[in-house]
């Protein structure tokens, strides 16, 4: 895996100038996402109008992969239905964990395939997935999401990556 491939211009740009940054004053849904291992920590607020995502915003502290993933997620799911967004959550998760080959199989991800390279960097998969987990948690009115325990996309005990 070439990280030049992972850190493509579009990712670096979203990291530098995250879109939809902040918190909505009057959200219908919200959730907090934490990756305790690397300290990624984001908040997502959104307004669902009928079945459509009218507005959403995020903020937090994280690595570039997590921030760019969150930023691009907001631009890609805005205006879509909750159902469409949930399908994207599933596709993104499958792509990042190597279960979906976006070059061969149909998917809903559009330009989000720039994150496909993360599947070759197991220690960074969670960084990319966290915003999507958090969005999913917000839809289900769960107040928080994590990349650990039952929600671990790698299916590994959390401590595995923290140990020296």
């Amino acid at each position: 895996m070439d990280s030049k491939q992972l850190y493509q211009e579009v990712i670096l740009d979203h990291n530098k100038k995250p879109r939809n940054w902040g918190r909505l004053a009057d959200p219908s849904h919200r959730a907090e996402g934490v990756n305790p291992l690397c300290g990624d920590h984001i908040w997502i607020t959104l307004k669902v109008d009928g079945s459509n995502i009218a507005e959403l915003a995020f903020e937090g502290e994280s690595c570039a992969i997590c921030k760019a993933s969150a930023s691009m997620m907001t631009t890609n799911v805005k205006g879509k239905s909750v159902e469409q967004a949930e399908r994207m959550v599933q596709d993104f998760r499958d792509m990042a964990t190597g279960r979906l080959d976006t070059a061969q199989q149909p998917h809903q991800l559009g330009r989000l395939t720039v994150f496909a390279g993360v599947k070759d960097l197991p220690s960074r998969v969670k960084c990319a997935i966290l915003p999507w987990h958090t969005l999913h948690a917000a839809f289900h009115n769960e107040q928080s999401a994590s990349t650990e325990g039952d929600a671990d996309p790698m299916g590994l005990p959390a401590v595995k990556l923290a140990d020296e």
């Binding site: 992972l6 850190y7 990291n15 530098k16 300290g39 923290a162 020296e164």
Partner: protein, 425 residues
């Protein structure tokens, strides 16, 4: 000649300032993995604090054992069992001499440093530390020298007291001295801080504790590979370290304990090899150190550790310390020049560890880009979250050096960091 010219010269000549009797090129040739490439770039392995590499001499010893010497130890009367026992016990004697322990039976094999600390928690802590008693730890500890004592606290109701460190990452010795009272039962402190590289003045700290009649456990995982450790000179009561950080195999470590203390401790695990006789009415424990070594141990790893000790003795700990001092000096100088980079841990006495942050870039992004350049560093909290909290940062990038590292590898690190700054600038 200016410092930078000198540095360049050393970089080009691969060690003009090498200590006498130390041949860097020859030493590097002993480590096959260092000839490897990562992402098409020569590997610069700067993650020795997490785990070090094995020289061919250790690898060969492991192969020889597995090829022609393996059997279970301490029980068979046959040739292979006796050969394996002699090699395994011979390695214990090598370790004893290496750390200058008074007696062989003071050297206990463990699975590693973490296991050694846990052995002391169970064998000493649970027997002799009770409700309201106090254990002193430091702010610089690895989680493995914090969590076992918290488990004891939760079980017994004892209290943890913490020696604070200053902005340079040095323990504040006046505050340390003030922590003692008549309830203090143990000091558990690291020799070299894994996240920052601070070398603590443990000889002095041990003397302070002994004036109060308090025994001291030293976490030596980051010290033994880099400086001469003499447990009798230090006068420590417990000293713990790991094989895989000192160019030996994983799965093996050492707990040194003064014999008098060891005799009083309760066994950690029950099982075979740690007993003299067993009936359903009564079990008589084996003598030390075997009382603390239940079950079949990682025999090959123990023998490999002995080979690693031989290797280190052959190179000389003084040579190792001298060359690593040069590496730290050069790396500190070069990394400091990068705009905005903040070095975390600037103690006067440091082992060859350079922890730092790059402003505006998360350490994991730094690590991923450095990996692309063939540079292996550790990023994260280094299992020392209290240290990160002290410096108000979530994580650092840590380059940790060994005697086989070169100035050229440091240049490779610095070039990688320049690329990071350019990418995220």
């Amino acid at each position: 000649m200016s410092t930078s010219n000198l540095a360049r010269l050393v970089s080009e000549t691969q060690g003009a300032l090498q200590p006498e009797g130390f041949d860097l090129a020859r030493v590097r040739a002993d480590f096959p993995i260092l000839r490897g490439q990562v992402n098409g770039k020569p590997l610069a392995y700067l993650d020795n604090g997490a785990s070090s590499q094995m020289p061919q001499q250790v690898i060969d010893r492991l192969i020889r054992y597995r090829t022609s010497e393996h059997a279970n130890i301490h029980r068979g009367v046959h040739y292979l069992s006796e050969t394996a026992t002699a090699a395994y016990e011979g390695a214990r004697r090598k370790v004893q001499k290496f750390i200058n322990a008074a007696e062989e039976r003071e050297v206990i094999y463990t699975r590693g440093t973490t296991d050694a600390v846990n052995l002391v928690m169970h064998g000493y802590g649970r027997a002799f530390i009770g409700e309201g008693d106090e254990i002193i730890v430091s702010q610089l500890e690895h989680h493995s020298n914090i969590v076992p004592w918290q488990m004891l606290r939760d079980e017994k109701g004892c209290v943890l007291r913490v020696i604070p460190c200053n902005d340079a990452g040095e323990l504040q010795l006046d505050e340390y001295a003030a922590l003692f009272n008549d309830r203090t039962k143990l000091v558990a402190v690291t020799h070299v801080a894994n996240a920052l590289g601070t070398v603590n003045p443990i000889k002095q700290m041990i003397a302070t504790a002994h004036r109060h009649g308090v025994p001291v456990l030293v976490d030596g995982a980051q010290a033994v590979p880099h400086l001469r450790v003499d447990v009798r000179d230090l006068d420590c009561d417990f000293y713990c370290f790991s094989g895989h950080k000192m160019f030996g195999p994983t799965g093996i470590g050492i707990l040194y304990v003064k014999a008098a203390l060891l005799e009083r401790m309760q066994p950690y695990q029950g099982g075979g090899d740690m007993i003299l006789s067993v009936s359903f009415e009564k079990t008589t424990y084996n003598v030390i150190p075997h009382k603390f070594e239940a079950g079949t141990p990682p025999i090959a790893a123990g023998i490999g550790l002995g080979a690693a000790v031989d290797y280190l003795e052959d190179i000389g700990m003084e040579n190792i310390a001298a060359w690593e001092h040069e590496l730290l000096r050069y790396a500190t100088e070069q990394v400091s020049r990068l705009e905005g980079v903040r070095i975390i841990g600037t103690a006067k006495d440091k082992a060859a560890v350079l922890s730092f942050t790059v402003p505006g870039v998360h350490p994991h992004d730094v690590g991923t880009v450095l990996n692309e350049e063939g540079v292996a560093v550790r990023t994260g909290h280094h299992c020392a979250q209290p240290v990160m909290q002290r410096f108000c940062i979530p994580a650092t990038v840590r380059a940790s050096f060994a005697f086989y590292n070169t100035f050229a590898e440091i240049d490779q690190l610095v070039a990688g960091l320049r690329r990071v700054q350019k990418m995220f600038g």
